[in-house]
Symmetry: C2
Subunit: 299 residues, 2 copies
């Protein structure tokens, strides 16, 4: 197995190769003057196992095209391809919310599959169940580094002062799992979002029982609006708020919004090409390497 | 059959629908704050014929993703999809020029096909033979509007003063065809381009026999460098130079470069989202409508 990075890889490929003792290769890339992407693998790999590493944020559409190109090349040379996407774009449009909407995740997964994808590995994907369904016969592994968060939070805070907060029903399983690892309780905030207007309504009353440290968990923090609302509510009641999110997209002024709302610490994973100063990025690579070994993706 | 436009459509869809007497619908579109594309068809179309119209320039990768999304939706509703791509991106990377290069066109075509493409229609695609091969069982129609150019040029110039120029061997067939329609002769310039450095060498001597009006033809004008070189050579010898190109991408200062090199008139087709002042865009829509009828894509 060789580890091959695409241009979106936020430095995970070389560290994985190092930890796993595998050869590392990087796609050469440029844009033509007209804006088309050009890729080239500096070394032909044929009839091998390939662990291809990519993130799809920012510039989701460029990174989508890079994936199509790379899979075409690697499968034409009959390689057995495992694709590790550290941040999977279009994962939130996993069904037809309103009539006439594409299921974006399905289109992406079908396009990738058609180009010879063997195994797909994601880091804490938003819709693992939908993904598995869309993938058909390809193998799928979703790595959720709960333990990485639990370890960092436990090192810093005492479990007696902790409550994990799920900012919506969709995050309940995630909150329950982290709370179990931390040995604390969790609370779920009910949320309803209008897909088109983006308007969100919350039921914040359950938060009145929280004191000490609140750990608000989510898979993706985009504009940070939801979490900032919850953090303001909590911090105005004297609760210290910590955020633990796998994918910190932090669109626009998301970081400032969270800081202003009283968030005292933000833990995230280095899954995207964006690094925000003030965020504590946890080292997930040893955990991923261990999982890939356990799943026999690599020996 | 309904005509449906994607965001890249440079206004061809509505005019085609009008000429063909078909219902016209446009995808609603926006970008989410994180940069992901959102599409929605304001009306569900099910078990119908759909003529989907898109251009892939500029912003080739955004328009690629739009195509994937739209095909997913339309094929999930069991429509019979004809996709008209007025400018097809990635058509020039139609083989592995250097070892380790993806065949970009193949990856694009395979991805589109996997999402339920019935018939593909292109306007003067760069690599129709490769396209047909990559498409497998899908139907493929390449519309080359030679007659549209011939008509415009004949209206303006006398055939006795015309010579058609192919700027490289790849344009020879195109030059021969236009010359035949115009009733004049043609000359081919030999060219060699290094795929990586982009360096081009020309053999311009055959142009010494040209006088009067030279019509330089090509499918795509990107940075305009090749044609500007030929135009400078010709105009310094007193030849008036006209350019006839299907797809005028005109990257950067391409237009100024051509104007400075002595080009007196540029004919192009409105196949992209870019409109350059000074270029004469020829109305190709009646020609396309006629071809689509002849090919029974629409009744």
């Amino acid at each position: 197995v060789r580890v091959v990075s695409l241009p979106g890889d936020p430095g995970i490929g070389p560290r994985l190769a190092d930890l796993l003792g595998l050869e590392y290769i990087q796609f050469l890339h440029k844009k033509f003057p007209d804006g088309e992407i050009y890729l080239r693998l500096p070394k032909v790999i044929e009839n091998e196992g390939v662990l291809l590493v990519q993130s799809m944020y920012p510039n989701q559409n460029d990174h989508t095209v890079e994936l199509l190109l790379a899979l075409e090349l690697l499968s034409r040379y009959r390689n057995n391809i495992t694709l590790l996407i550290t941040y999977l774009a279009y994962a939130r449009q996993d069904k037809e919310f309103l009539a006439g909407e594409p299921v974006s995740l399905r289109s992406l997964v079908k396009a990738l599959s058609s180009l010879g994808l063997g195994t797909l590995v994601t880091i804490d994907a938003h819709s693992p169940l939908a993904l598995r369904e869309f993938l058909g016969t390809s193998r799928y592994i979703n790595i959720v580094p709960d333990e990485v968060f639990a370890e960092a939070i436990s090192r810093r805070y005492r479990r007696e002062e902790l409550t994990v907060i799920a900012p919506d029903q969709g995050a309940e399983k995630r909150a329950a799992s982290l709370a179990e690892l931390l040995g604390c309780r969790y609370v779920v905030v009910k949320k309803a979002r209008d897909r088109i207007t983006g308007n969100v309504t919350h039921v914040l009353d359950p938060l009145d029982s929280v004191s000490g440290i609140a750990v608000v968990v989510d898979d993706i923090v985009s504009t940070g609006g939801t979490i900032a609302g919850i953090a303001s509510y909590l911090s105005s009641r004297g609760v210290r708020v910590v955020v633990a999110a796998s994918h910190a997209l932090f669109v626009g002024d998301a970081y400032d919004k969270l800081a202003r709302s009283g968030v005292v610490e933000i833990y995230a994973l280095p899954t995207t090409g964006v690094t925000v100063s003030g965020v504590t990025y946890l080292d997930m690579v040893p955990y991923i390497a261990r999982k890939l070994r356990e799943e026999k993706v690599v020996e």
